[in-house]
C-alpha cells in the first residue's frame, strides 16, 4: 500500500510524514505524489535521496499520469535521481527560479561551486541569498566533517510563493549520537541533539569551546539564524526528529539550550541512517544580513558562560 504524500508538506509537516513512512516495514518505499503542482519541503527530498543512496531502488515515486516540466519532482531533479518512478519527464530550465535541483556535494570545493552556481538561481533578495549561502556553507561543512567515513551530502532548496527559501541537507553518515559520543556523554539521541545545538559543544573535542578547528557553534548559529528570521528548523537523525519553532514575538529569542525552546520531538519506528537538517529562511527587506548577525552575536554572548568580559577587541581597518 503506497503512502500518499500530501500536496503540500511544510517543514513542520515532515516529522509526522516521516513517522508514517518509517512505520512501513517494506523493503521498498512506495510514495504516491499528486500529479498536479506539489510543494514538498526540500529536506524530505534530501532524506529520500539519502535513503536511496544507501539502499538503491528502495524509494519509488508513484504518479498516476505524466507530469509537467514544472512539477516539483521534475524541477528538483528527484525523478532523474531515483531509479524507480512511474513517470518520467525531462527537466527543463525553471524560468521562475524557484528551485535548486538536488545535488550531491562531497567536499569543500564542490560546496563552494554549488553555492556560487546555484544560490543566485533562487532569485531571492540579496540579504536572503547571503543568509542562504552562509547556512549552506555551515550545514554542509558540518556534514562533511562529522558524517564519518561516508562522504557527501544531498542538498536541495527552493523558494516558496511567499519568498521563504527552504533548505534541506541530508547525509548518510554516523548520525549525531555517535558524533557527540566521541567527546561527550549523551544518553540518547534527544540529548545528543540538544548537546549538538548548545554553543561550545563539539563532537570533536571534550573541551567546552571546542578546539582549534571547531568551536561547537555551527548548529547554534543555524538555530539563531532561524530564530532571528522567525522561521522553523528541524533535524532528523537515527530515530529522532527535532522540530524547532521560532518565537513570533517582536524580540528574537535565542536560547542556549533546546530545553528552553519551543521544540517538538518525534520518535521514528526505524532508523534514518545519517543526519538531515531542514531550515527555512527569509530575511526581510529592512533586516540586513549583517543586522541578523548582530542579533546572533548578542544571543551568543548571552548564551556562553563568561567569567569576565573580553579584554581585547578586534582591530578593524
Amino acid at each position: 500500500m503506497p503512502i500518499r504524500v500530501p500536496r503540500v508538506v511544510s517543514l513542520r509537516e515532515v516529522a509526522p510524514l516521516l513517522s508514517e513512512i518509517f512505520e512501513t516495514e517494506q523493503d521498498v518505499l512506495n510514495l504516491a505524489f499528486d500529479d498536479s503542482e506539489v510543494s514538498v519541503h526540500p529536506s524530505l527530498l534530501c532524506i529520500l535521496a539519502a535513503i536511496e543512496h544507501v539502499r538503491p531502488s528502495s524509494v519509488r515515486l508513484l504518479l498516476d499520469s505524466a507530469i509537467g516540466a514544472d512539477h516539483q519532482l521534475v524541477q528538483s531533479g528527484m525523478l532523474n535521481l531515483l531509479s524507480e518512478a512511474t513517470s518520467t519527464q525531462a527537466a527543463t530550465s525553471d524560468p521562475t527560479g524557484r528551485y535548486i535541483p538536488i545535488q550531491y556535494v562531497t567536499d569543500a570545493k564542490t560546496l563552494g561551486n554549488f553555492v556560487t552556481d546555484f544560490v543566485p538561481i533562487l532569485h531571492a533578495s540579496p540579504e536572503t541569498s547571503q543568509a542562504v549561502s552562509y547556512v549552506l556553507h555551515e550545514l554542509i561543512r558540518n556534514v562533511l566533517e562529522h558524517a564519518g567515513n561516508s562522504s557527501g551530502a544531498y542538498v536541495c532548496a527552493d523558494t516558496s510563493s511567499d519568498g521563504v527559501v527552504r533548505l534541506g541537507v541530508a547525509d548518510f553518515g554516523i548520525g549525531v549520537l555517535k558524533t557527540i559520543r566521541r567527546s561527550h556523554a549523551a544518553k540518547d539521541e534527544q540529548q545528543a541533539i540538544s548537546l549538538a545545538f548548545q554553543p561550545g559543544i563539539s563532537g570533536s573535542s571534550s573541551n567546552f569551546g571546542g578546539d582549534d578547528r571547531n568551536g561547537g557553534a555551527g548548529l547554534f548559529f543555524m538555530k539563531a539564524i532561524a530564530a532571528v528570521s522567525k522561521q522553523p528548523m528541524a533535524m532528523v537523525t537515527g530515530r529522532t526528529v527535532m522540530g524547532f519553532t521560532a518565537s513570533q514575538t517582536s524580540a528574537a529569542e535565542v536560547n542556549p539550550s533546546l530545553d528552553d525552546d519551543d521544540v517538538q520531538w518525534t520518535s521514528l519506528s526505524t532508523d534514518f541512517v545519517g543526519t538531515a537538517v531542514g531550515v527555512d529562511l527569509m530575511i526581510g527587506g529592512e533586516q540586513q544580513f549583517e543586522e541578523l548577525f548582530s542579533e546572533v552575536r548578542q544571543a551568543y554572548s548571552l548564551s556562553v558562560q563568561a567569567g569576565k568580559k573580553a579584554r581585547r577587541r578586534a582591530r578593524f581597518t
Binding site: A108, L111, G112, V115, T116, Q130, S133, Y134, H137, E138, R141, E145, P199, G200, N207, F208, G209, G210, D211, D212, R213, N214, G215, A217, G218, F221, Q288, F289, E290, F293, S294, V296, R297, Y300, S301, V304, Q305, A306, G307, K308, A310, R311, R312, R313, A314, R315, F316, T317
Partner: protein
C-alpha cells in the same frame, strides 16, 4: 594576507583557514611581526572559518589581538569576527 586568494568570496573552507593560521598567523606572531588579514572582496565569512583562523591564537593569548589587523571587512564579516573574538576569550565552566 588576502583571504580571498585562499578562500574566495565565501570564506567557509576551514582547511584554508587552518592553513593561514599555521603558516602565516602563528609564524608571524612568533617572529613578533604584525598580522594583516585582508578580507577585501570577501562577501561573508562563516563562524567556522573565522574560528579556525584565529580562535586558538586568541584563546591562548588574547594580547595577540594587538598585533592582528582585520582589514577591509564588510559589516557581516566584522560581526562574525567579533563574535569569534568574544567567545574565544570567554571562560567556560
Amino acid at each position: 594576507m588576502r583571504i580571498h586568494s585562499s578562500a574566495g568570496p565565501f570564506a567557509g573552507d576551514k582547511d584554508a583557514a587552518a592553513h593561514i593560521r599555521e603558516t602565516y598567523v602563528k609564524v608571524s606572531l612568533a617572529k613578533s611581526q604584525d598580522v594583516v588579514l585582508d578580507f577585501a572582496e570577501v562577501e561573508f565569512a562563516t563562524q567556522s572559518f573565522v574560528h579556525a583562523l584565529i580562535a586558538s591564537v586568541v584563546r591562548s593569548d588574547p594580547d595577540a589581538l594587538d598585533h592582528i589587523e582585520f582589514k577591509n571587512c564588510n559589516s557581516a564579516v566584522k560581526q562574525v569576527v567579533e563574535i569569534v573574538v568574544d567567545y574565544a576569550q570567554a571562560e567556560f565552566d
